[in-house]
Symmetry: C2
Amino acid sequence: MKFELTKEYIDNIKDVIDNKDEAKAISLMHELHPADIAEIYDEINIDDAKFLFLLLDDDTAADVIAELEDDDRIRFLRNLPVDVIAKKFIDKMDSDDAADIIGTMPDDKKEEILSYIDDKEQAGDIVDLLHYEANTAGGLMAKELVIVNENWTVLTCLRELSRQAEDIDEIYYVYVVDDDDILKGTISLKRMILSPTSAKIINIYQNDIMSVHTDEKDEDVARLMEKYDLVALPVIDSIGRLVGRITIDDVLDVIRDEADKDYQLASGISEDIEPTDSIWRQTRARIPWLLIGLGGGILSAVVLSGHENNLAVTPQLAFFVPLITAMGGNVGVQSSAIIVQGLANNSLGIESTFVRVMRELGGSLLNGIICSSLVFLYNFIFSDSYALTMTVTVALFSVIVFASIFGTIIPLMLNRIKIDPALATGPFITTLNDIVGLLIYLSIGGLFYTYFS
Amino acid sequence: MKFELTKEYIDNIKDVIDNKDEAKAISLMHELHPADIAEIYDEINIDDAKFLFLLLDDDTAADVIAELEDDDRIRFLRNLPVDVIAKKFIDKMDSDDAADIIGTMPDDKKEEILSYIDDKEQAGDIVDLLHYEANTAGGLMAKELVIVNENWTVLTCLRELSRQAEDIDEIYYVYVVDDDDILKGTISLKRMILSPTSAKIINIYQNDIMSVHTDEKDEDVARLMEKYDLVALPVIDSIGRLVGRITIDDVLDVIRDEADKDYQLASGISEDIEPTDSIWRQTRARIPWLLIGLGGGILSAVVLSGHENNLAVTPQLAFFVPLITAMGGNVGVQSSAIIVQGLANNSLGIESTFVRVMRELGGSLLNGIICSSLVFLYNFIFSDSYALTMTVTVALFSVIVFASIFGTIIPLMLNRIKIDPALATGPFITTLNDIVGLLIYLSIGGLFYTYFS
C-alpha cells in the first residue's frame, strides 16, 4: 500500500527500460501512485523517463507531471513536442496546475500550447489564471468549482451537481452564488441529502463563509487556512464574485516552502536547493554567505591588527577571542530566530517593540550573568592575570547583552521596511556580532590593562 | 470576514470585562471564530478569560479550548471545576482533541473527568485513544467516522449517513467496511448521489485506498499525506480493522512543529518557545546551548594558550583567528542544514552516503578555492609576511573542506543511530568546528613559521 523507493527498485526499472519491455513497465507503473512515478523520474535519466512517460495513460501522465519538482518538469517538458504537452496532459490537469506549468514557459510556446488545447473552457480558465501573480491567492487558486444558485431547489442542485462534478475529483464544498455570481455561502452535500428535495437553497445554505480576495498574499492565505482549519477557501474578485478556490494541499506547499526558506536563510543558503542538486548549483547558493563571512573575518583581522601592540604585550588576550565571537554569534542567532519564527507564525501578539526589547534585555541580563560568572570562575582558578579575568568577564557580559538586543531589533526593523527578516539570522548576524564583539572586547581590554597593569 | 487582533480591540474587550457588561461581551464574541477568541485569551489575564469563557455556549467553548496553545490550556483548565470541564466541553469535542486534553492531566483527575461525561460512547472513544502514544497515528486520529457496510444499498447508506452524520461537521470520505469491520475502501458522496439508490455498495466503491497502522510515526503520516495530497487518512489496527481517521489539519500541526523544531535546534533553542514566553522559560531553552558555546570557547582558549610562544613571536597569527572560526562554523552549518532538510523532506533520494560525501567534497573544494584565493589576494597585497599569507590561505582551505565533510557526516550518523539530526546543526557543529578549525590553523601556522621564518 505504501511505496518506498530503493536502489533495487530503480535497478529493476532500469533493466526493464533497457530491455524495452513495455508490458512489464506498464504493469509496474500501474501499481504506483503518480507521486511515486514522479519520484522515480528523479532517479533516472531523461530518455528513460520519456520512455516510461509515453506508456502512461493521459490522466496518469497529467498527474505525474503535476507531481514533478519544478526544475525536473521544465527539463522534461523541453524534450516533448508542444502538441503532446497540450493534448496529453494540459487538457487533463486541474486548471491551477496547468496554469503553473504554462506560466514557466516562454511566451511564444505558451500561445502555441494554448492553441492545441481541445477543451476551450480549460484554455479559457488557464488564460484567466495566468493574469495573477504567482504568490497571490489568484496564483494559487483553481477554477474547478461546484457552484449552485441560491434560488434553485435541492433537486435542481443534485441534478446540476451530477453534471458539474464530472470534472472534479473530490467535492469539498458546494458554493452558493446569487444571479450576479456574487459568493453568498456554502452548502454541504450532507445538508442537501438531509433536506427535502423541494427545499430552496436560499433557506438552507450556510452564509458565514470565509473568502479571500485574488490579491491576497499566499503566505496570508496559508496562515488563514491554518488558523481556521479550512480545507478549501473560495477566492473572490473585487466586487465579490466567486472566481476560484484554493485547497489545503496547495497551501501545504506554501507553508513547507516558507519554513524551508527561513531555515535555509538561517543556515546561510540563499536559494532553494536539494541535497541531490549539482555542485555548481549548491555553490551558487552557498558562496554569497561565505563571502560575507570572509569579509567579516578580514574586517576582524583589521580590528585585531589595530590592537597589535596590546596583543604583543599580552598574548593571553588573544586566547579568548574565539569565546567572545562564538558567544556573540550564538546569542544573536537565538534572539533573531525567536523573532523570525514569531513573525512567521504570527505569535508575537500585540506586544509593542519596546516591551519585546525590554523582555529580551531581561533575558540577556540573566544569560549574561550566568555565562560571565562561569567564565570568571574559570579564569579566577586558572589565570593569574586579574586584568585578563576582568576583561573576559565584563566583555562576555557586554557582548551577550549587546547581541541579544541587536538580534531582536534587526529582524523587527527589516520586517518593518518589508525585507524578509530571516535574512537577519545566520551568517549576517553572526558576522556583524563577531566584529562588534571584538571591538567591545578589545576596548574593555584596553581599559582594564591600563588600570590594572 | 477576517479578524485582526489589535491593541485597541483588547483594550475595548478589557473595558467590557471591567464593566461586567455580559450582553456586550456575548455580542462581541458572537462575531468571532473560536480561533480568534483563543487568540484574545492569550492577551488577557486568567480571570478575565474565565469571565468570557463562562458566557460562551458549550459548542463554542469546546472549540475555543481546542484552539488554545497547550500551556495556556493547562493553565486555564486548572481554574475550572472538573464537572464543568467534562460537561461544558469534553463532551462536545472531537474525540482526538478531547483525548489530547485529558492526556495532559494527572491520572486521578483523568478518571474523575471521564466519570462526568454523559455521552458514554464519547467516554469510550477517549479511553481507547488514550492508549496510543501521542506521536503515532493512533495518537493523532479521531474516532468520528462515517462508515457503511459493503453489503448495503445506496438507499440504506444514505439513511444511515443521516444518522451518523449528526455528530460530524464535515464528511470528507465515507469508509466502506465488511462484516468484520475490516477496511475495504471508500465511497464518495458524489458517487452515491450519481448511482441508483438500489445499487449495492460492494459494486460501486473504490478499493484502492491508502491507510496507516496505529503505530505509524506521526512524521511519517505527515509525509504520506503531504506526498499523496490526502485530506483524510484512515487508520487500521493490526488485523486491518478501521479504528479511526486522521485529517489534514492535525497533520498540518505536525509539519509546522517539525519544521519549527529543526529551525529552533539550528538556532540553538532547545524547547518550543514563543516570543511572549516568560524570561525564565526562554532562558531555560537558551542556556544549554550557550553553555556548550562557553565550554567550546574555553577549550579554544586552552588550544590557543598551548601556542602561546608562537603568538608572542607573531601576534599577527591571532588576527585571523575569527576568520578561521567563523568560516568553519558557516560552512559546517550550511552542510548540515542541507542534510537535515533533505532528511526532513525525504529528498535525499537513493544516493549512498559515499556518493553524497563525494559530492560535498567536490563542492567544498570549489568553495575552498574561491575563498582561499580571495584571502591569499588580500594578504598578498596587505601583509609582508609570506608565512602568514600561506598559513591563512592553506588553513582556510583546509578548514572549509573539513567543515563540509564533518557537517555532512555528523547528521547522517546521528540519523542512523536514531538521534534527531537537527541537533547537529547550530551551536553544536559551530563549536566543534571552532576548536578543530583552530587546531588546523595553529598546526599549519607552526609548520609554515618553522619553514619560512
